[in-house]
C-alpha cells in the first residue's frame, strides 16, 4: 500500500519537475518586473532584484553603529537624513566619515558612549550609504508615482516635491497626473481609445452576425466566405492608405480615427464569432417570436442581444486586449500627440531616458487592467479562442 504510493510518486516526479520548472520560467520574469518596480532607484541599478530575498545583513557595521539613532531606513533623524544624496556625498570614504564621527554634535560626542567604528568598518558604512542601500531596506511606491507623472528630475517626484527642487513644469499637486509624458495621462488615453473601439465592433458585429445567421439574402454564403479570408489580412497592408487619408481630412492624432480603424479591422473576426454563436441558438425561438408578430428589430433587441451575452463577453475581452495592447495602430495614428500606454513605454525603452525602476513600474501599470480583465473573465476568453479562427 505504502510502497505503491511511493512508486506512484516516483513515477510522477519527472512530470512534476518539468511542470514546475516551466511554471518558474514563465512566472519569474514577471515577478522580477514587479519587484524591481517597487525597489528604490539606487538599489535597482546596483543589485539584482532577487537580492530582496537574501537575508538582510543590513549593512553589518551600519546596523551596529548607526541604526540605533538614524533608524534602519536612515530617516529617523530629519536633520541628518542618511537617504539624502547631498549629505552622503560629503563623506565618500572612511576618512571623512571617521573625522565627522569624532566631531561633537551640539557639544556631545557624535557616538555618545559607544565606541567608534574601526577604519574597515567605517569604509563599509561609507560604501553602504553611498550605494543607497540604506533605502534598499524597504520597498516603495515612489517609482509608480514617478511613472504616473512621467517624472524626470534629479531624485524621485516625492523627494523633489518635498524639497521644492522639482522642474518648473511640475506643480506637485494632482494636476501632475495629466502631464503628457506620464503614464497617468496615457492610462486615460488608453481607456478613451479602448472602450469605444471595443463597443463599436461588438455592436456592428451583432447586427451583421444576426443577418448572416438568421436572415436570408443573396450572396450570404459567398460574402461570409470572403469575410473568413479577410480575417488574416495583415494590419500593415491597410495602414498606409488610411494614414494618408487621415492626414488629408485631419483625423490623424484623433481618437475617432483610431476607433474607426479598430472597428473596421476587428470586424471580420467579430462577425465570424457572432454568426457562429448566434447560429447555435434554437430555431424554434425565432420561429415562435415571428409567429407572435415580432419584427426583426424586436427579435434582435429582445432575443439576440440577451442570448448572445456569452459571445459578447468573449468578443469584448478579445477586442479589449487587442486594442489595449496594440502598439502599431496607436504609433501610426496617435503617436506622441495623444500617447497611449504602449506608446509611452516603447518611447521610454527606445529613448533610454528612464531607468529600469520607472520603466518596470510603467510596464506593470499598463499590465494591470488587462490582467484583471483577463483573469476575472478567462472563461469567456478561452471560449472565444476555441470558437474558431484567432486574430493576431
Amino acid at each position: 500500500m505504502n510502497r505503491e504510493r511511493v512508486n506512484k510518486l516516483l513515477n510522477q516526479l519527472p512530470t512534476h519537475v518539468i511542470i514546475i520548472f516551466t511554471m518558474a520560467v514563465w512566472i519569474i520574469p514577471t515577478v522580477g518586473l514587479l519587484i524591481t518596480s517597487l525597489r528604490p532607484p539606487e538599489a535597482v541599478g546596483n543589485t539584482g532584484w532577487w537580492t530582496v530575498f537574501a537575508p538582510q545583513n543590513a549593512g553589518g557595521p551600519y546596523a551596529t553603529y548607526c541604526a540605533e539613532c538614524h533608524g534602519a531606513d536612515g530617516r529617523a533623524l530629519p536633520q541628518a537624513d542618511l537617504t539624502n544624496p547631498e549629505l552622503i556625498a560629503k563623506y565618500p570614504r572612511s576618512l571623512q566619515l571617521l573625522a565627522m564621527l569624532r566631531k561633537d554634535i551640539n557639544g556631545q560626542p557624535h557616538m555618545g558612549d559607544n565606541p567608534l567604528p574601526s577604519a574597515q568598518e567605517a569604509a563599509d558604512i561609507a560604501a553602504f550609504l553611498r550605494e543607497g542601500e540604506v533605502k534598499g531596506a524597504g520597498l516603495t511606491f515612489n517609482n509608480y508615482v514617478d511613472a504616473l507623472v512621467g517624472y524626470r528630475g534629479r531624485s524621485t517626484y516625492t523627494a523633489d516635491c518635498a524639497a521644492g527642487t522639482q522642474p518648473p513644469d511640475i506643480k506637485c499637486n494632482l494636476q501632475d497626473i495629466l502631464n503628457p509624458r506620464g503614464m497617468g495621462r496615457a492610462f486615460i488615453n488608453s481607456l478613451l481609445v479602448t472602450l469605444p473601439a471595443t463597443f463599436l465592433p461588438i455592436l456592428f458585429a451583432a447586427f451583421a452576425g444576426y443577418a448572416f445567421a438568421w436572415l436570408d439574402f443573396k450572396g450570404r454564403f459567398l460574402l461570409f466566405a470572403l469575410l473568413v479570408g479577410l480575417q488574416v489580412v495583415p494590419l500593415q497592408m491597410t495602414l498606409v492608405p488610411i494614414s494618408r487619408f487621415y492626414a488629408q481630412v485631419g483625423l490623424n492624432g484623433t481618437f475617432l480615427g483610431v476607433w474607426l480603424f479598430h472597428t473596421g479591422f476587428g470586424m471580420p473576426y467579430a462577425i465570424y464569432l457572432m454568426r457562429n454563436f448566434l447560429g447555435t441558438l434554437p430555431r424554434d425561438l425565432f420561429e415562435s417570436a415571428y409567429l407572435d408578430g415580432a419584427s426583426h428589430w424586436t427579435a434582435f433587441r429582445q432575443l439576440v442581444i440577451p442570448l448572445a451575452m456569452p459571445a459578447i463577453a468573449s468578443l469584448g475581452i478579445f477586442q479589449f486586449l487587442w486594442v489595449w495592447n496594440d502598439l502599431l495602430v496607436s504609433l501610426v495614428f496617435l503617436g506622441g500627440t495623444t500617447p497611449v500606454m504602449t506608446y509611452q513605454i516603447s518611447n521610454m525603452v527606445t529613448s533610454l531616458g528612464s531607468g529600469w525602476q520607472v520603466l518596470t513600474a510603467a510596464a506593470f501599470l499598463s499590465m494591470l487592467l488587462p490582467m484583471i480583465v483577463f483573469f476575472s473573465l478567462q472563461r469567456y476568453f478561452v471560449r472565444g479562442m476555441l470558437a474558431g479562427a484567432v486574430k493576431g
Binding site: 511542470i19 516551466t22 514563465w26 519569474i28 520574469p29 518586473l33 524591481t36 532584484w49 455592436l203 456592428f204 447586427f207 443577418a211 445567421a213 436572415l215 436570408d216 439574402f217 454564403f221 466566405a225 479570408g229 480575417q231 488574416v232 489580412v233 500593415q236 497592408m237 495602414l239 498606409v240 492608405p241 488610411i242 474607426l260 480603424f261 473596421g264 479591422f265 470586424m267 471580420p268 447560429g279 447555435t280 420561429e287 415571428y290 409567429l291 426583426h296 486586449l321 495592447n325 502599431l328 504609433l331 504602449t342 513605454i345 516603447s346 525603452v349 527606445t350 520603466l359 499590465m367 488587462p370 490582467m371 483577463f374 483573469f375 478567462q378 479562442m385 476555441l386 479562427a389 493576431g392
Partner: protein
C-alpha cells in the same frame, strides 16, 4: 489484439472531423421577409470593412508601384547605372536590397541576416517552440492536481502586450558593463563562473533571444487550444491502449497526436500568420538593429521612419503574398466545416 497503430487508424477518420457545431440551419420560411432588411443589418459592418480593409488593400497595391510620396511611377526613381525593374522598382528594392550578390557565400550569409532570413528563423523556431511547449504542457499538466494554476501561469502572458513583454525580457537579458549584473540571465551565468553575454546585440543569438520572448507569449495560446482537443480524445481508446501494454510515449505519439493532428495544423497555421505580422517585439527590443529585422518591422521602418510610401507598401504586399496561402487554407477549412454541418 489491436496495436495502438491500428487503433489510431480506425479512430482517426471519424475523430478528425471536428464535432460539427449545429449552426445556421436553413432560415425559417417565416423569416424570409423584406429583401432590404438583411442589408440594413449588414450595412454598418460592410461600410467599415470596405473602407478600412478592402479599399486600403487595393490602394496599397497601387501605391507600391509609385515613388517615395505616391505622386509618380516607381520607374522614375530608377538611377542610371543601377539595376532597375521599371514600375516594379519598389519590389526590386523590397526583394533584393538586403542581399549581397557578389558571391554565393555572401548571398547566403546576407540572406540569413536579412529580414527575410530572420522571418524564416522566426517561423521555424517560434512555431516549433510554441507548439511543442503547448502540447507537452497540455499533456503533462493534465496529470497533476495543480493543473488549473499551472495552465493559468502559462497562459498569463497572453494578457500582456508585446511592449510589456519586451520590457520584462529586456530586463532579464540586461547586460551590465560593470561587475554586478542586474539582468537575471547574466547574473546566473556569472554566478556559475561564465562571462556575461550582451544578448540583444550579439549576432546571431539576439534574434533567438527575441524569438524566445515570442514563445513565452504564445505557448499558452497553443496549450489552451491543444488541451481542449486532447480532452475530446475518447478515454476508452487511451485506456484500451494502456491495457494492451502501450507505454505513455507510444500512447502520445501513436494515438493522441494523430487524433488531434487537424487541431495541430490549425494552431500551426495560426502561429505562422501571427509570426508574419509580428512587429512590436522587434520594434521594442532592438528596433530591428543588430541584424534582427523582420519583414513587418522593415515595412514600418520604410514607411514611417524613411517616409517612403512606395517601398513601404511594396514590402506590405510581399507580406500579404506570403500570407495568401493561409487565407486560402482558412477559407477552405471554413468550407469543409460548413459542409459537415
Amino acid at each position: 489484439m489491436a496495436t495502438p497503430q491500428d487503433i489510431s487508424k480506425t479512430v482517426t477518420p471519424a475523430a478528425v472531423r471536428k464535432r460539427p457545431v449545429k449552426t445556421s440551419a436553413p432560415v425559417p420560411e417565416i423569416m424570409k421577409q423584406g429583401g432590404l432588411v438583411p442589408w440594413l443589418y449588414l450595412l454598418p459592418a460592410l461600410i467599415v470593412m470596405a473602407f478600412f480593409i478592402v479599399y486600403p488593400m487595393i490602394n496599397t497595391i497601387g501605391l507600391s508601384f509609385s515613388n517615395k510620396d505616391g505622386t509618380a511611377s516607381a520607374a522614375t526613381t530608377c538611377r542610371e547605372g543601377n539595376p532597375c525593374w521599371g514600375v516594379f522598382e519598389n519590389y526590386r528594392y523590397a526583394l533584393t536590397a538586403e542581399f549581397n550578390t557578389s558571391s554565393p557565400q555572401a548571398l547566403w550569409s546576407s540572406f540569413w541576416s536579412s529580414s527575410y532570413g530572420n522571418t524564416i528563423k522566426w517561423i521555424v523556431v517560434m512555431v516549433f517552440g510554441t507548439v511543442s511547449v503547448g502540447l507537452g504542457f497540455a499533456v503533462l499538466a493534465d496529470r497533476v492536481k495543480y493543473e488549473a494554476l499551472a495552465k493559468a501561469i502559462l497562459f498569463m502572458p497572453m494578457a500582456i502586450s508585446f511592449v510589456g513583454a519586451g520590457v520584462i525580457w529586456k530586463f532579464v537579458y540586461d547586460y551590465g558593463t560593470q561587475q554586478t549584473q542586474v539582468g537575471l540571465l547574466n547574473a546566473i551565468i556569472t554566478s556559475l563562473g561564465g562571462k556575461p553575454v550582451a544578448w540583444l546585440s550579439t549576432i546571431p543569438i539576439n534574434t533567438y533571444a527575441i524569438i524566445l520572448v515570442g514563445i513565452w507569449i504564445w505557448s499558452g495560446f497553443c496549450m489552451t487550444i491543444l488541451a481542449a482537443a486532447l480532452k475530446s480524445v475518447p478515454d476508452e481508446i487511451l485506456e484500451a491502449a494502456r491495457v494492451d501494454g502501450a507505454t505513455e510515449w507510444t500512447v502520445f505519439w501513436r494515438i493522441m497526436v494523430p487524433i488531434i493532428l487537424p487541431t495541430i495544423t490549425v494552431v500551426v497555421t495560426t502561429m505562422v500568420i501571427n509570426v508574419l505580422k509580428l512587429f512590436d517585439l522587434v520594434y521594442v527590443m532592438t528596433g530591428g538593429n543588430f541584424q534582427t529585422d523582420v519583414i513587418a518591422n522593415r515595412m514600418y521602418t520604410e514607411m514611417y521612419k524613411n517616409f517612403n510610401v512606395g517601398r513601404g507598401t511594396a514590402i506590405a504586399v510581399v507580406l500579404v503574398v506570403a500570407i495568401i496561402p493561409f487565407i486560402y487554407y482558412n477559407v477552405r477549412r471554413f468550407l469543409e466545416q460548413e459542409a459537415t454541418r
